[in-house]
Amino acid sequence: MTLCELVDSPAIELYFYDELDRAERARVQAHLTACEACRQRIEDLHAIRRALAARPRVDAPPAGDWSGFMRRLDEACGTTPASSSHVASSTIRSWRSPVRMAVAIAATLIVVSIGVFLAARFKPSTVPAPTAQTSTVVHAPATVDRSNDRTANRALAELSEQHFERSKLVVLGLASRDPEHTSSSDWEYERDLAGSLLSDTRLYRLAAQDRGLSNIAHVMGDLETVLLEASMSEHPDAAALERVQNLIRKRDLVVKMQVIGSAGI
């Protein structure tokens, strides 16, 4: 809850950009001497301006036109620009304040960097040679090879990304709980959430397998195993939660979901 009514009003922003008439400007200036929240807001705007000015390597295109960047990213990801670029760029355009824009730039850089780094690090272990001893079975399509159906593959990849985002909340919830201090009701809650995601996970894994999207199928398989273990466990004890956490850790599930998500920006 904001104590000052002015802090979230356009007046502060207008003041910062020197957009107010003289009387209004004087009123805001007087207010600023007494209101720490509004002073902080002005300071934030200054900080953003300084940060942007001091980072010439953040190659923000003029007027926020990210279409070139998104096109290059699409090309790198092997997708056609039609849907992903316009969705992403429109999302960027729809942000309403310089604060969000700056956060967006920083977040994009961080996510892209982490994604590229993790993808490079993780890729060899994501698709191991299929041996009976150490790999999850990802079967070849049993019926029709639709791997050239790029639109449908891209749609399934986007759907999987959304599913991983939903599931990540559950997986992170399970991974971050303290087994010694998790009540039965909390455990029950996590179990229900995990159970609610199970059928979709299985369906998407099978669809990905069928389409030869082995990376997605593989991570869906890991997620399915974790959700199964979590949702079917009847023992609300520390050992059960530790076992689920162990499974999440050993399968690198959080990292894998992050990488799949990053690849589909």
Partner: protein
């Protein structure tokens, strides 16, 4: 004497209660813990050893769970026949276990792998329970230890055992499609009586889609339209949409027109997501009879498609839709699509006042600085003019900032 009886009764009750409690919430044995460690490490053969020992141990408190993970590990280790045997044993020995459900899903997957369409059909549309006095079921074929080669579907002799028994009665099968082969021995895979849940049926139908679309599509449509669980309906629609088959797509359109609202929304979303040459026209068909919520979803899906024809459709919706919420969603969506220069400006002029603010936002999203400057210069309504200036400030282009500096209010 009475006291002794009372104490004995109390002790017996306590023992019964303890054993029930231990059965209901028995912690994992050390062996199960080791097995799960191996599963986590994907060391299937070592997991199988541990799990087999657990299953053979009469003192193991979670033998049903051990059987499931054994089947899972055998499947991963490509020991498919062993996995089927294990699943059958789980169903036979622990028919009420919660592990039966995921085990059955695993069986469908193995059946798909081995192209056992008879087993898949048995799951997708199980036969009715045998009537009293009915002749016995033919002897089950022995479970093959090597993958069974795919068998071509038998020609038209429609097997009564393959008639779907779901309630309500199955739809008419369109002519021209081969019928599935009669089952020769799925009882080796599936114990009777067998009552698959809807998710299992959807999974099996998805596996049969490419081989038997004529029978599968009506059954999925029936699930989408009739099930009381929206999640199941959504999954049925997903299987239809992602199949890539034109006839399945037509069915998704029908569901989008006829289903309960929440299912219609799911169908519209899938139509947009999976695209297709006629996706825009199909979505507009749905739009013509849609509720406001479904209309909003159609607008979003048109934006996902994002082609020229779909943009024209969005423009038409933005101009003619009477529901202000739907109209505003269409206007905002236009701002994200490749709408031609000047079209949003023209829309501003013709839009009702309560949508003009939305057009200004769309103009900003479309980076139409000229359109915004024109409105900021000429609009007589001060609130709208201020809004146009605000959008220009957000846009932050050199031209916009120059205009704001030169035309202070």
């Amino acid at each position: 004497m009475t006291i002794r009886r009372w104490v004995a009764g109390l002790a017996t009750s306590a023992m019964v209660a303890l054993s029930v409690a231990s059965l209901a919430a028995a912690p994992d044995s050390r062996r199960m813990e080791r097995a799960k460690d191996f599963i986590a490490d994907e060391q299937w053969l070592r997991a199988i050893d541990q799990l087999k020992a657990a299953v053979a141990d009469a003192k193991e408190p979670n033998r049903d769970e051990a059987l499931f993970w054994l089947a899972h590990s055998e499947h991963q280790a490509e020991e498919l026949a062993a996995a089927i045997d294990t699943i059958a044993r789980l169903e036979r020995d622990y028919p009420r276990s919660r592990w039966v459900r995921p085990a059955r899903a695993l069986r469908v997957e193995i059946a798909q792998r081995l192209r056992r369409d008879d087993v898949l059909w048995w799951t997708a549309a199980p036969p009715p329970p045998a009537a009293p006095g009915a002749p016995p079921v033919p002897a089950a074929a022995p479970l093959a230890r090597t993958p069974v080669p795919p068998r071509p579907p038998a020609q038209p002799a429609k097997s009564p055992r393959m008639t779907p028994v779901a309630t309500p009665p199955p739809p008419e099968m369109p002519a021209g499609y081969p019928l599935p082969s009669p089952p020769e021995g799925p009882t080796a895979w599936i114990p009777e009586p067998f009552a698959p849940d809807t998710d299992l049926r959807i999974q099996a139908l998805g596996s049969l889609m490419q081989a038997h679309p004529g029978q599968v599509i009506p059954l999925l449509k029936e699930i989408a339209l009739d099930t009381k669980d929206p999640s199941e309906a959504r999954r049925a629609v997903f299987v239809l949409a992602q199949s890539g088959r034109p006839d399945a797509r037509t069915t998704v359109v029908e569901v989008a027109k006829q289903g309960p609202e929440i299912v219609r929304i799911a169908a519209v979303r899938e139509l947009g997501r999976f695209g297709g040459a006629n996706a825009g026209a199909e979505l507009l068909q749905v739009y013509s009879t849609a509720t406001p919520r479904v209309k909003r979803e159609v607008v979003s899906s048109l934006a996902v498609l994002g082609k020229g024809a779909e943009t024209a459709a969005l423009l038409r919706i933005a101009r003619t839709e009477s529901d202000p919420q739907v109209r505003n969603v269409a206007i905002l969506t236009l701002g994200r699509t490749s709408v031609a220069d000047g079209q949003l400006g023209a829309l501003y002029v013709s839009a009702p006042r309560d949508s003009r603010r939305t057009v200004l936002v769309a103009l900003c999203n479309a980076r139409d600085e000229d359109g915004l400057i024109r409105i900021a210069s000429t609009e007589r309504d001060m609130a709208l003019r201020q809004e146009a200036r605000r959008q220009l400030r957000l846009l932050g282009s050199a031209k916009a900032l120059k205009f704001l500096a030169e035309h202070k209010e």
